[in-house]
């Protein structure tokens, strides 16, 4: 049965259905409905909803819950995510799974509450300190947002790498019909033998990112590195739309991805051979599929709500095989399909 839900609400409900039982937050627009939804519904499922005294506190509570083996999540919007970055680095270092939702708004600084995609670098290239990666998933519809939240919990547990949902204010605020994924029964969640559950009858487990011996720490990071290569091999996800005969392919993710779908439809109506390549995992980025596309499509036009962040990964994929122009909007302004179509027409007619 389809229900009409906001992106924020659908992500919250999906987290509960994925078995999230500890949620820690500090409120910020435009993800307020996510907090409200969790406050209302999570306790009914026997979970803990806790509004912390700060973002820093919230992410460290996530660390604690995750170390205890619970599926746990936090959510915020851009400036709040910046505050959580130290904790996220510690989660990555201690190999603790967690889901972090970033409903992006315009920055830098306090910026404003309008939708933007300026946190791509922060999500995919570090953000926190040290040599780590996050699994980064970018939904473009409310339906996909719900599904990717479920997936984020599974992937994060499987690889013991924190996962981030990179959404934005538009996706968080808009309502769309959604077919909610079935809840995962608790017994279906794989056990976590590494969790800190009391060391009775076994050697103690430790959740830490601290090791003063460089050689020992190197081994930990080598194992982590190995995991990242595995994720890159197994988990790359993307969507192609009308790319078969395209002479120009738009490359866009999240909200921009869905808007570009409309652009493709309008372009096709006018007889222009335009397609869409939409990365769903921003890390691991779909370098290889995009490279293959660049071998037969002369123009890959990247469209982002930023001054060009994913654009760098597009150019890394293409390596000069095709033209890679960029079109972006700034400050929380969302371009209309017409504006993007005008840009498209500079390259194909």
């Amino acid at each position: 049965m389809k229900v009409l839900m906001r992106g924020n609400e659908a992500m919250a409900e999906a987290a509960i259905r994925a078995g999230c039982r500890c949620y820690f937050c500090y409120p910020i627009t435009p993800q307020g409905e996510l907090v409200e939804y969790m406050a209302r519904h999570l306790p009914r499922h026997g979970g803990v909803f806790l509004q912390a005294e700060s973002e820093v506190a919230a992410i460290n509570m996530v660390y604690g819950a995750s170390a205890a083996g619970v599926r746990t999540m936090t959510s915020s919007s851009s400036p709040g995510i910046s505050l959580k970055m130290e904790g996220i680095s510690y989660l990555a270092g201690a190999r603790l799974p967690a889901v972090i939702i970033n409903v992006m708004r315009a920055g830098p600084g306090l910026g404003n509450i309008a939708p933007a995609q300026g946190d791509y670098f922060q999500a995919t290239k570090g953000g926190g300190h040290g040599d780590y990666r996050l699994i980064v998933l970018a939904p473009s519809t409310v339906q996909e947002a719900a599904e990717l939240v479920m997936l984020a919990f599974d992937l994060s547990d499987r690889y013991r790498v924190p996962a981030m949902i990179l959404a934005d204010g538009m996706l968080g605020q808009m309502m769309e019909p959604v077919e909610l994924p079935a809840p995962i029964p608790p017994e279906k969640i794989p056990p976590k033998p590494w969790a800190l559950t009391g060391a009775k009858g076994r050697a103690p487990n430790v959740a830490s990112s601290f090791d003063l011996d460089p050689y020992r720490f190197r081994e930990i990071l080598r194992a982590l590195w190995q995991t990242y290569r595995e994720i890159e091999k197994n988990e790359v996800r993307w969507e192609e739309y009308e790319t078969e005969d395209a002479e120009l392919v738009l490359v866009a993710y999240g909200t921009m991805g869905r808007i570009c779908r409309t652009v493709v439809r309008q372009a096709r109506k006018e007889g222009l051979p335009v397609g869409l390549f939409r990365p769903i995992t921003l890390w691991p980025f779909p370098y290889e599929p995009l490279r293959k596309l660049a071998e037969r499509v002369p123009v890959l036009l990247t469209v982002e709500l930023s001054s060009g962040q994913m654009w760098e990964d597009v150019r890394l994929s293409v390596e000069g095989r095709a033209k890679t122009p960029f079109y972006g909007e700034l400050g929380g302004v969302v371009p209309t399909p017409q504006e993007i179509l005008s840009e498209v027409k500079k390259y194909v007619r």
Binding site: L4, Q173, M174, P177, C260, R265, T336
Partner: protein, 179 residues
């Protein structure tokens, strides 16, 4: 088929709710639909608007360049959005708060004194449902019953029977006022 509707007015006029009810009605009738609100400070006394897109294939952009229908519940809304309405489209104007004038010659202009009608029905806050009734008639995508059912579902938890009754009447009034 992809139809955009913009509801706009003061915060507090029930703009977002009217859009939500339309979106729900469309969903129940099997259409693809998106509802996108203006959010943030507008909600407290400023202007509010929301965009509903109804389509028969998955909706791409929830933002609409040229809506087929604009519901302008106050003067600033009419000024801001009227130029964007697609030729051949329609503008539903709350003539209680907006002077009657031919803003656009190439669209159907419908003037309805929504505040007076709402007052008459005994609930000043149901002006939004008068507007929605008119919109449903203009769209012609589904019968008024679909909208009434969606309204009842939307208000279900918080709607007392008396309130539902008034809202039903408001929807009907709006619907019948469009020729």
């Amino acid at each position: 088929m992809e139809i955009g509707v913009i509801f706009a007015g003061f915060g507090g006029q029930g703009i977002l709710l009217a859009g939500k009810v339309l979106a729900r009605a469309a969903m129940e009738r099997g259409f693809e639909v998106t509802w996108l609100p203006s959010y943030g400070p507008e909600m407290r006394g400023g202007t509010a608007n929301c965009t509903v897109v109804i389509a028969d294939e998955p909706v791409g952009s929830p933002i609409v360049d040229s809506p087929a229908v604009l519901v302008a519940m106050n003067e600033p809304s009419l000024e801001r959005f009227a130029p964007r309405v697609s030729p051949g489209g329609a503008i539903v104007v709350n003539s209680s708060l907006v002077s009657q004038r031919k803003e656009r010659a190439d669209v159907k202009m419908v003037f309805i004194p929504m505040n007076e009608i709402a007052q008459e029905l005994g609930e000043p806050r149901c002006a939004n449902m008068v507007a929605l009734g008119a919109t449903a008639k203009i769209l012609g995508l589904f019968p008024l019953e679909a909208v009434i059912a969606a309204m009842e579902e939307e208000l279900g938890a918080r709607g007392r029977e008396k309130l539902l009754k008034i809202n039903r009447k408001a929807l009907q009034r709006g619907y019948t006022l469009v020729s």
